[in-house]
């Protein structure tokens, strides 16, 4: 009978499915748990067995990490250098007569007068008093006090600085200076304009180069608003400098330019 039963089961396959389904349901959770435990135990033992290897791998990864960090620092330095060189090239292309020196703003005193700042270049780099300070965007100010390896710069938003300038379209001449009520907003003032001056918002102001301190034709900024002075005799324009004077970090000092130190006639 048993032989018959075996033959029937072998030929039909019914009992095979039942037994494997039943056994699978009962055994599978145990197998899963066992497999998990075995995996964990294996990993646990493996950890000890491969301790030396893991430590070596860890050390290598740490070294790699440090190397990558150094590469990142180098990359950022190169990026900065690249940006500086680009700016320098841009300026050199526009003004071939300039002898530029790139400098970084290293200090801004919390109680500094009218936003003056210190740069990291001085006498040793050939910088002198009255050298113009610019960015690729436009005029920033001028050097007023030179040390061996640093110099102080007074910005165009300071009332202490006066720059002869003109509007490029109709050549209205004026004097650019700072104003106590404007410099915190990063604005300057173009004074001594004719009452009937024909300039308006957006017009470009450039240096006149009359005194020989600033080269002629350097962009200063754009006109924001034109107003009549309180005395009513002349007008003034509020100028938004092209360079962000209050937060500039990199500047270019022009050590030499055509016409430096020479007085010239008006533009």
């Amino acid at each position: 009978m048993l032989v018959g039963f075996m033959m029937f089961a072998a030929s039909s396959g019914v009992f095979e499915n039942v037994s494997s389904g039943f056994l699978g349901a009962v055994v599978s959770p145990f197998q899963t748990a066992s497999s998990f435990l075995s995996g964990q135990a294996g990993a646990f033992i493996d950890r000890f067995a491969r301790a030396g290897e893991i430590e070596k791998e860890n050390r290598e990864l740490k070294e790699q990490n440090a190397e990558l960090m150094n590469q990142m620092v180098e990359y950022h330095d190169l990026l900065e250098q690249n940006e500086q060189l680009k700016k320098m090239l841009e300026i050199k292309e526009l003004h071939s007569d300039f002898d530029p020196e790139i400098a970084s703003v290293i200090s801004r005193d919390p109680n500094e007068m009218f936003g003056s700042f210190t740069i990291n270049k001085g006498n040793l780099h050939g910088i002198k008093n009255n050298d113009p300070v610019i960015t690729a965007a436009g005029l920033v100010g001028k050097v007023i006090d030179v040390g061996l390896i640093s110099a102080k710069v007074v910005p165009i938003t300071s009332p202490e600085l006066k720059v002869s300038c003109y509007e490029v379209r109709d050549r209205s001449v004026g004097v650019l200076t700072g104003d106590a009520s404007l410099y915190r907003q990063g604005l300057s003032k173009m004074e001594h304009l004719d009452r009937e001056v024909d300039i308006s918002k957006g017009n470009i102001i450039v240096t006149a180069g009359i005194s020989g301190i600033f080269p002629q034709g350097l962009v200063i900024g754009t006109v924001e608003e034109v107003k009549i002075e309180n005395h009513g005799m002349s007008a003034y324009a509020i100028i938004k400098p092209a360079a962000d004077v209050n937060s500039v970090k990199e500047v270019v000092v022009i050590k030499k330019f055509l016409g430096q130190g020479e007085d010239s006639v008006s533009p």
Partner: protein
């Protein structure tokens, strides 16, 4: 360690800390709140003066002030003179009248800044006749002074803590 060696070590450390405070206060954009930044050198020299007496205070006031003068565009010696006199006064006040607590340090910083800022405004702004110059006082000098007064307790706690690590030695001014 001998008291003389301790004193030298203390001075090296505190001169280094003063340089650090000066560097931090002049770092563009650091601690900036709406454009105002604290003049850390003022509470620093004041705290040194009240902790160590009028002699050390005078030296640190002068050196700190000179450092500040050199990095700013003020006449060299202007801040040095004011801070030196103020440090001696602050040290004497704490010896004879006031207790050395954070509140008194804050008051002393406020008083010193009032004197300093008044003279600074008078000599470097007001007498030059710039238009609307009071705006500089309102928008720049007063915010800087208020901010400095607010950070002075922090400077006091830090320096007091560091000073406390050194055993008490007599005759600091000698």
């Amino acid at each position: 360690m001998k008291p003389s060696k301790l004193r030298i070590l203390w001075h090296i450390l505190f001169l280094f800390l003063m340089l650090a405070a000066h560097t931090l206060q002049n770092t563009p954009g650091l601690f900036s709140i709406n454009g105002a930044r604290p003049a850390l050198i003022v509470p620093f020299v004041l705290v040194v003066a009240v902790l160590k007496g009028e002699g050390v205070g005078a030296v640190y006031g002068a050196v700190g002030g000179l450092l500040w003068d050199l990095s700013s565009r003020r006449l060299p010696g202007f801040s040095a003179l004011i801070l030196m006199v103020c440090c001696v006064a602050a040290a004497l006040l704490t010896i004879y009248f006031l207790r050395v607590i954070w509140f008194n340090i804050t008051l002393l910083t406020a008083a010193v800044l009032f004197i300093f800022c008044s003279l600074d405004y008078l000599f470097f702004y007001a007498i030059w006749g710039y238009n609307d110059i009071h705006i500089v006082l309102l928008q720049e000098i007063i915010p800087m002074a208020v901010y400095t007064v607010m950070v002075s307790p922090v400077v006091y706690f830090l320096l007091n803590k560091i000073n406390g690590k050194f055993p008490v030695t007599d005759n600091w001014s000698g």
